[in-house]
């Protein structure tokens, strides 16, 4: 059984008007089933309002399913006695770093999680050190978070989750507010966690090129999983993605445009190297 498993999950919420009268019911997640194995890198794509964030919030028991079940490391997320354990196994990083950082000094902020778990002081400091090293922020440990760039703050948030020794980390658009360097730093740190520390990663994003290294991509639409496959399988379906209000990485789009103009290229090109290889091969005309 996988680290995260969802079976027929439905999440509905009731809309009310100003007097509190029920106006209707919205089904934000509709019959979603998925199984994520320990150590996998999963990306979730989908337009605004497609249900990705709502689904993600089920993974650390911020939300509970209306129907169906979510298990994190074998624990049912509706089990109240397991909530803290679940949140420790599956950490979450949100879009805006300024809403997540509370410490006055970087290392204090990272230590906040393990401190709340009642970890002995000596071990807290060991965890803080290793977490900051894992995201490449150790040299900033004595700095004030206020003086860091967006990408650096976001990496501190990730270290804060990491210090709780989670098996899984869920990142909900962690790069939406960052400049290109910040985005690159965060994605590099996330990939390192996955590959070196073997933490399971669930990455939600609107930047298609951030998902090309994922093991699996899920595309959501109307609360359901509309597409599922490897990045290459997903991004070779340019038209389908456009229908779902999404896009493909620029390099994939360029290859697609060249194919439309009659050039023979492999489908689902994902990186600059792949396209350059395909184009510098003498066979292509």
């Amino acid at each position: 059984m996988g680290i995260i498993r969802a079976k027929d999950v439905v999440y509905e919420y009731i809309r009310r008007d100003e007097e509190g009268n029920v106006e209707g019911i919205t089904r934000a997640v509709d019959q979603v089933s998925l199984d994520v194995r320990q150590g996998e890198f999963i990306a979730i794509l989908g337009h605004n309002g497609s249900g990705k964030s709502t689904l993600a919030k089920h993974i650390n028991a911020i939300l509970n399913p209306t129907e169906g079940t979510v298990w994190v490391d074998g624990m049912d997320t509706r089990d109240d006695t397991k909530v803290w354990e679940i949140r420790q196994r599956a950490g979450m990083v949100f879009q805006n770093p300024d809403n997540q950082i509370i410490g006055q000094v970087v290392e204090e902020d990272v230590g906040f999680g393990p401190e709340n778990m009642g970890i002995p002081t000596k071990e807290i400091w060991e965890r803080v050190e290793e977490s900051l090293k894992a995201v490449g922020m150790y040299e900033f440990r004595k700095h004030s978070p206020n003086k860091l760039s967006g990408g650096q703050k976001q990496r501190v948030s990730i270290a804060g989750v990491l210090a709780m020794h989670p098996k899984c980390i869920v990142l909900d658009e962690p790069t939406a507010m960052l400049d290109p360097r910040g985005r690159k730093e965060v994605i590099r740190a996330v990939r390192a966690l996955n590959q070196v520390e073997e933490v399971t990663v669930v990455l939600i994003t609107h930047y298609m090129e951030e998902t090309i290294h994922a093991d699996k991509v899920f595309v959501m639409d109307g609360g359901r999983i509309a597409m599922e496959g490897t990045p290459r399988e997903i991004f070779s379906q340019v038209e389908r993605l456009k229908e779902l209000r999404l896009d493909v990485p620029q390099v994939t789009l360029l290859a697609y445009e060249l194919q439309n103009r009659g050039m023979k290229l492999p489908r689902g090109i994902l990186t600059v190297e792949e396209l350059a290889d395909a184009l510098s091969g003498s066979g292509v005309r």
């Binding site: 809309r15 989908g46 337009h47 605004n48 309002g49 497609s50 879009q95 760039s149 967006g150 990408g151 658009e173 939406a176 507010m177 960052l178 400049d179 290109p180 360097r181 910040g182 690159k184 609107h206 298609m208 090129e209 456009k242 209000r245 999404l246 896009d247 990485p249 620029q250 390099v251 789009l253 360029l254 445009e257 060249l258 103009r261 009659g262 050039m263 600059v272 190297e273 396209l275 350059a276 184009l279 510098s280 292509v284 005309r285």
Partner: protein, 284 residues
């Protein structure tokens, strides 16, 4: 008629030990009807610069001329300036507050002291311009999707009929389609009504696709000010200051190193496809 920024510097906390220079001797001229992209890493001074243009922040030194008039002159009407230079902040949907979308859009022009009919006409027109469908006009703004909220907020600024529209990262957090729709509509505004547009963005691909000119900010100074193809040809220097070029720039440079005779300065997918077809001798 234009905006002229003349040796403007701005220091946060001037005369305190915490003084930080956010803008350092900025000079630029923005002619009417231009679509300008402003890029720069977080903290480079982009937002500080645009907030000077409608008088929200007052320069520590230097002058700003709007249509030839110094906005710091004692008899210059700065309140009116805010109607003429519309500023859409980051995450403008956080500023929606009215009971329905239409009233929210009316708020700006109402405060300009216009009569009710004019206010409603302008609001209707603004909502049409941003492509928000009629059936949403009387819904609560809080029930709209992310992209729709953002468009409602932009309409609120458009209803004041600004001559210059400044948008600070208008597409952050939107899905790709929403991103394209908003940028397309902004481009239409420029084309149809000749509005001057300043777009602050972190997305190099968006900037490459839509703007006529790019201003690159770094540490409170202007690093480059040129057309997109010229700016992105300096991609190594852009990377040094925390930015990047669009992915096509990297593809074309890689192809060039591998001996394919492509124009490395193409910045959009269409241009890149053209030059690759040409280099491969493909009839396309």
């Amino acid at each position: 008629m234009s905006i002229i920024v003349d040796h403007v510097s701005y220091i946060y906390g001037a005369d305190t030990p915490l003084a930080v220079t956010a803008l350092d001797d900025i000079c630029l001229e923005i002619p009417d009807g231009q679509f300008v992209g402003i890029i720069g890493h977080t903290g480079s001074g982009k937002s500080t610069l645009v907030q000077h243009l409608n008088g929200l922040i007052r320069a520590t030194s230097g002058h700003i001329y709007f249509n030839g008039e110094d906005i710091y002159d004692s008899d210059f009407d700065r309140k009116k300036l805010r109607g003429r230079v519309g500023l859409v902040f980051q995450y403008p949907e956080h500023q929606l507050f009215e009971v329905d979308v239409f009233s929210d859009v009316c708020f700006g022009p109402k405060n300009l002291g216009l009569d009710r009919k004019e206010v409603e006409l302008r609001s209707y027109e603004a909502l049409r311009k941003v492509g928000l469908p009629d059936e949403l006009f009387y819904q609560s703004p809080f029930e709209l999707s992310g992209g729709q909220k953002r468009r409602a907020a932009i309409a609120g600024v458009l209803a004041m009929k600004p001559e210059v529209l400044i948008l600070d990262e208008p597409t952050a957090g939107l899905d790709p389609k929403g991103r394209d729709e908003i940028l397309y509509q902004i481009k239409q505004l420029q084309k149809e009504s000749g509005m001057t547009i300043l777009l602050v963005s972190h997305s190099m691909e968006d900037v490459a696709e839509y703007v006529d000119r790019i201003i690159v900010m770094n540490r409170g100074r202007i690093l480059f000010d040129n057309v997109p193809r010229e700016v992105f040809s300096r991609y190594r220097e852009l990377e040094e200051v925390g930015l990047a070029a669009p992915q096509v720039t990297y593809i074309l440079n890689e192809l060039k190193t591998r001996g394919l005779n492509v124009d490395v300065n193409a910045t959009t997918i269409g241009e890149a496809a053209d030059t690759i077809c040409m280099a491969k001798g493909h009839g396309g």
